[in-house]
Amino acid sequence: MGLRVEKASARLPGAPGPSGPGPVLVLQHAAKAFGAVQALLDGSIELYPGEVHALVGENGAGKSTLVKILAGVYQPDAGSLLVDGRQVTLHGPAMARAAGIAVIYQEPALFPDLTVAENMFIGRQPLRAGRRIDRRAMRAEATAIFGQLGVQLGPARIARGLSIADQQVVEIGKAISLEARVIVMDEPTAALSAAEVDRLFDVVRTLSASGAAVLFISHRLEEVFALCQRVTVMRDGRQVLNQRIDGLVASDLIRAMVGRDLAERPAEAHGTPGELLLDVERLTREGVFTDISLTVRAGEIVALAGLVGSGRSEVARAIFGIDRYDAGTVMVRGHRLRRGSPTGAMAAGVGFVPEDRRQQGLVMDMSVQQNIALASMQRLRHAGLIRAAAERALAADWAARLRIRYGRLRDPVSMLSGGNQQKVVLAKWLGRKPAVLIVDEPTRGIDVATKAEVHHLLLQLARDGVGVLMISSELPEVLRISDRILVMREGRLMAELAQADASEEEILSAATGQAEPGTPGPPADHPLGGQDVPGQTTGDGRGPAERPGGRAHPGTP
């Protein structure tokens, strides 16, 4: 790979000399807060030419914020950024580009109607006489870059319909044509197949061989060890580890990533589970999930864990009747629910707090009061009209019980903070006094204090005899408040763990299939709370299914 094209070496500046060059980019002690949420406390990173540098950490560790600072999208509140030893301030993506920093996002935003070559050169197309675009030169240059990267991609085809992998290649080609010396790849492999990952790795190695510094973010540790020479681990907005990767093993990185106070674990003991409220049998939706059987009893919190994309949310949506399913049954208190009917599910006493509260959980333009009352219209109706006084009373009651902080009940719900918005969604369902409450990522994007309140609320509900089915990517949360943990992988239930037996490592092994040698890696997604971890077996070498108290489920292909 070392012998690169003449043109290429001109484009990609000098390979690292034997003397060992200094870092091309240094970010020191960067901090960034969004309102009350401190997304990044002490973000530091050093990138060397010719090196692939891994950045790993849980979700919420501050990786994305750091990437967006490098991309010029966010301006840090504190800290300094040095490129080639000179201090720079990036006031926008254009300045980052000019400084030689290119960012390849997980899903690039191309111009679908323009050709591949134009996507690479938009605004900088090679010109001929009369300032006209020289299409042939543009295509030749694109072809040369693809040749240099060793990929086959026609520069004259339009971008519409390109696979994600090819779209990334277009972006990488663009970065090369811009003579970028720092290439940041934000979870590029998340949506790629194994073959595409291999091709991407070849491309990345080519890039670094020609002297570019690559920052590679991934949730898959085996990729980090396969590709990178140096690694930075972030936790809670800080850099906690930064060294060359030789000599490190996966468990070192996991410890650095997780390294949290385990004392925060199991909170209150729950009462004994009561009657069977939700009974799902062999629920299957072709190509999405298969043979999902689960139960939720009164007073129980059951967590559905797994990687994003493992089918957790889809199962929840099918249970509630938003999505259809092909086979299986959903019973609530012994009554079978009609498939595809949220109204039926609601009538049977099921509530559903969706993952995306802004898009699915709330009507952002309506008031706090109206949002809370939205699911209780039936009760508030009198002769076909909504009684404003009753609506107000209901909303005020729940707002007080959930300690929602708001200005006036008539304010639009969009004025509340994320945590309080989430409480409004919860209040909406609690107003109906559900028997079963399904919550999808109840604490995503919520600050720590409110998060604790939401946890407390869910525990309180369980104590009051509600059955809660919770989907969560945050393992500490799962371990803290649930009684049983079901782990999904690739649309199937892989394990059921009792809270007493479960550990983060164990859930991760089941979710990623790492415990069983020879099984394919996790599907294309971010893991669980970003605990991202794999590459690791549990201490006793047993698979999750063999755990005491764990129930085995039909295995993976």
Binding site: V5, K7, G123, F146, G154, R160, G161, S163
Partner: protein, 349 residues
């Protein structure tokens, strides 16, 4: 490995890419050749029923009638490609037609070029007003130009009142502009064809032209790519306005009589022509040539119905039908194309 990397342009293009390119090229050619086919079939059928349709006077009539629409369609194409709409072109045309033509009555012996200049100026002013509101005010263009459609028309009615410019007040040279021919082809049609070609070439081969496609294709990505989206959209509106201004003067020359209703409803006819001509209604693709051909097709149909003695009611119904057809074809092509490209580019499916 590195040896294969050295050659660049000689290297045979990727098979997947070539296949896909052929496919896209064919699809785009079809978009324009499709209109030509429809046009030819339509003319053939009409002529077989009523041979008078093909006589030179009638063809000249169709071509001259098309010029105003074809011209407007080029300006509208620029706007639509950038995912905007200009609904004010009809009103701008009307205002420009009256104000420019009335100059002949007010200033004896004013040169025709100066009158065109006045029309152009009016158009530029209206287009700039639209452009500022859309790009600086960030108001959706549909709303902005709907407002200016009424404002400019209102202004026109205020100025014109019950008056009108009559043909007898216009110099013969001016009235002859649409009537002059070279080898039987109207001069005006040649000039307009040239203008369409220039517009198409600009959109195809200049950075700022391509950037209009980029903006229409993915506005957010365009901003991130550092394209001055506001400025480009502003210029597109100015061009559309300027073209409408000039078209107003031509309209006056063609009809001779100008009152306050000149150009009423043209905006929708022009947008129809643009869409029938294969310009994607949500921006990002299409060509000025296609749009001009769309205008030609619609005018030919009107004329054919007239020649065949069919009620003008059918005129509008057929326009509407063609519009639906064009949009359906547009959808079908893009769905098919996406599917085909995905299969050809597939590596991970």
């Amino acid at each position: 490995m590195s040896t294969t990397l050295v050659s660049r342009s000689e290297r045979p293009p990727a098979p997947a890419g070539t296949g896909a390119r052929k496919l896209t090229e064919r699809a785009f050619r079809i978009r324009e050749s499709g209109i030509i086919v429809v046009l030819v079939v339509f003319v053939a059928i009409t002529a077989s029923i009523q041979p008078r349709f093909l006589n030179i006077t009638n063809i000249q009539f169709i071509l001259v009638n098309t010029t105003v629409f074809a011209l407007l369609a080029v300006g509208e194409t620029m706007v639509v490609i950038s995912r905007n709409y200009d609904l004010s072109v009809g009103s701008v045309l009307g205002l420009s037609a009256y104000l420019s033509a009335s100059q002949f009555g007010q200033h004896q012996g004013i040169p025709i070029v100066a009158v065109f200049g006045i029309g152009l100026g009016i158009g530029v002013a209206c287009g700039a007003a639209n452009g500022i509101m859309v790009s600086v005010g960030r108001v959706p263009s549909l709303v902005v130009t709907l407002a200016t459609l009424y404002i400019v028309r209102g202004l026109d009615i205020l100025i014109v009142g019950g008056k009108e410019v009559v043909a007898s007040s216009l110099p013969a040279a001016f009235l002859n502009i649409p009537r002059a021919t070279v080898l039987g082809i109207p001069d005006l049609a040649i000039v307009i064809a040239f203008a369409v070609a220039v517009g198409a070439y600009y959109l195809r081969s200049f950075r700022s032209g391509r950037e209009l496609y980029a903006i229409g294709s993915n506005p957010e990505a365009a901003r991130l790519a550092g394209i001055p989206t506001g400025r480009r959209v502003f210029v597109a509106f100015v061009c559309s306005g300027a073209i409408a201004g000039v078209a107003g003067v031509l309209w006056a020359a063609q009809y001779g009589t100008v009152d306050s209703t000149a150009g009423t409803g043209y905006e929708l006819q022009v947008i129809s022509a643009v869409v029938v001509g294969g310009v994607a209604i949500f921006g990002g693709s299409g060509s000025a040539v296609g749009a001009a051909l769309g205008a030609l097709l619609l005018n030919t149909i009107s004329s054919a119905l007239y020649v065949l003695g069919i009620s003008p009611f059918w005129d509008q119904a057929i326009w509407g039908f063609l519009l639906l057809l064009a949009i359906t074809i547009d959808r079908l092509i893009s769905v098919r194309l996406t599917a085909a490209l995905r299969v050809r580019g597939a590596r991970h499916e």
